[in-house]
Symmetry: C2
């Protein structure tokens, strides 16, 4: 079995696409990925999406997008794992190619939420939690993150201002990403003064819901077309783990257990440790999730993720650059597409095609996405090929 | 690579489960499958579901069900492909085990619709079609089936009464299936007199939406526990294909192209042809779909599927027994669970554990489920092991 590589990349701008349909967004990303691969024709399509059924009255995206993209007849399904849907779709594509049955797979993450922004979107997003015991009480993902952040501040003795590092870094990186939703820098002073959303979470703490689509085409290394124009990027590890869905059911709500398990499995598969990672796209849906992700993945001690970011370790020149194209916070968070954006961004870094956002000399990259306050975590590790 | 086998089976009664939650339904089926396997602990969970997001405000079923079932931590995702979700989930489980990365996978199909029966369910079901060009006009799956059936009657010169064979057979078989929703026989005379739903489709033409859950535990043959109590059933072929989603976009709306392609791929993988199949669980959501399925899978000539059934070939003693436990029509159609019910029923037949519903000497079995008026088709072929 030869290595499995990312051969093609595509991504649309993240933002409010009022004039573009869900299927068109997917098509744009998908066409770019096929073109970028040198024209590999995929045998299967894995769609990461979480909200089209509720917000667009459209399920069955596999057949819909395959048909619209001129791939009528191919294998196509939708993969859903809340906010981790994009990473889970990449995982299914990886397993399919690894099985030897599918030779090349297109993984497309797509989401369209801003048409319905407001209570409808909040209710739809809340369906990623436990509907009988959380959402039924009116608890949304941001409200849950607020509870978790309050507990984190209490247990670890930190204040709101201590979380500023994540959002300041994300916005600084998004400035030069033409696909990012918010390309403005923010200061630590602006961060602490921002309006509250779900105390202690303020608008600069939480990532914006957005529309967007991203795609990667994966295949085996021996199937890359002659004269393939990019350094291929190998998928060195792929792991998905779960944890109790309801936050109140977790033994340790500050631990991100699924993130830790999936990261450990991924390190073991790749034969490396956190010290080898050069760039890490983490799931900064809220700053407290970013802090806990750094801790779960072994980059910071428990309760010290905020400090790691505050001290500049997560900048492009730091020890572990994160959110290098703006992260969920500033590139934007297009739900089920987010995990695929992360893979695209890591692949750009490992190809050396990051432009102004390039992390110099990046060789090992890691992407991790979370669903339902971390109840599902998908971790992929990628390696630049010579 | 050793063979992949079905090691455990579970299924709940199909019907109206007013007092049972979605997660409990899934748990019942899942626990039965694990127990039936002799206690194999699954490494991954693939959930087939299409409507929980819209009808139960609950997505993220992978983490939810894994946790509720005492499998906290394992890999778990939801697979959606409209009515074919259950078959698609089995396909993903198969690919995962085939990859060698997952050693044993639990595939659970679950659906809960009857709490919201009425316009809400119709709208949710319509999201399996093309929302911009079909559902937006008010077209539901049953209305589409009505248009297809009318065209079939016109092109092939047949009348309503000619479709009676499917429903009469399904109800006759359901009588002795303790899990079936409708265990009453119907006569050809009653069939033609039934109330219209979407002319020419009447209530005896269309399968009832229902609640239910089914599960299969799959693993490699060498991992069956010592003293495994059942004849294992090998998954000899697995194939998924798509076709244009909107029926009006299809070159031939009477052909079920995806069903034909997936069946052909499956026959090629198994190294057999339709003449070798001993029992076939087809997707009789509407009698016209059953007729076209027989044609697409190579059991009847184009336009003659109705005749094949009318002449008794689909009964348990006929050439190709179908709907042997009642099919969608009389066992009931629990949406994303249906494809897993089909696999459970075929496995029971090939184990020789079909009881009063046993097809004598069944060795090769086939299950095919369809989504979105046949835009997605999943075909699995199974072989009884000595």
């Amino acid at each position: 079995m030869t290595d499995i590589v990312i051969a093609g990349l595509g991504q649309t701008e993240v933002g409010e696409h009022w004039d573009v349909s869900l299927r068109e967004l997917a098509l744009w990303a998908l066409e770019d990925a096929v073109r970028d691969s040198g024209g590999i024709r995929p045998e299967a399509l894995y769609v990461g999406n979480m909200l089209a059924g509720t917000l667009s009255s459209q399920q069955h995206l596999g057949a819909l997008i395959a048909d619209f993209a001129g791939l009528r007849g191919i294998e196509a399904v939708t993969i859903e794992a809340a906010g981790a849907s994009g990473g889970a779709a990449l995982r299914q594509g990886y397993l399919a190619v690894k099985s030897g049955i599918v030779t090349s797979a297109l993984v497309v993450g797509v989401e369209k939420v801003t048409d319905k922004i407001g209570a409808g979107v909040s209710a739809a997003l809340a369906s990623s939690g436990d509907s009988d015991f959380e959402s039924a009480q009116g608890v949304t993902p941001t409200a849950l993150a607020g509870l978790i952040m309050r507990r984190y501040m209490h247990e670890h003795g930190v204040g709101l201002k201590d979380f500023a590092g994540f959002s300041v870094n994300a916005h600084a990186n998004a400035k030069t990403n033409s696909r990012a939703m918010y390309r403005n820098a923010i200061s630590p002073e602006a961060y602490v003064k921002a309006s509250m959303v779900a105390d202690p979470i303020n608008v600069f703490d939480t990532a914006p819901d957005a529309d967007g689509a991203a795609a990667v085409l994966i295949t085996t290394a021996d199937r890359l077309p002659e004269g393939f124009e990019h350094p291929p990027v190998r998928i060195a590890a792929s792991a998905l783990a779960t944890e109790a869905l309801a936050v109140h059911d977790r033994k340790d709500p500050l631990a991100l257990t699924a993130a830790r398990i999936s990261a450990q499995r991924a390190y073991a598969q790749a034969g490396i440790g956190p010290e080898d990672i050069d760039v890490f796209e983490l799931y900064d849906s809220h700053t407290v999730m970013a802090a806990m992700s750094l801790e779960a993945a072994g980059f910071a001690d428990r309760g010290r993720g905020w400090e790691f970011a505050r001290d500049g370790n997560t900048s492009r020149e730091g020890k572990i650059p994160v959110s290098t194209f703006g992260g969920l916070k500033a590139r934007g968070n297009p739900g089920g597409a987010t995990g695929v954006y992360q893979a695209v961004e890591i692949a750009l870094q490992l190809r050396g095609e990051g432009g102004a956002n390039q992390v110099p000399g990046a060789r090992w990259g890691m992407a991790q996405c979370l669903g339902g306050s971390g109840a599902t975590a998908v971790t992929h590790i990628f390696l630049a090929q010579e």
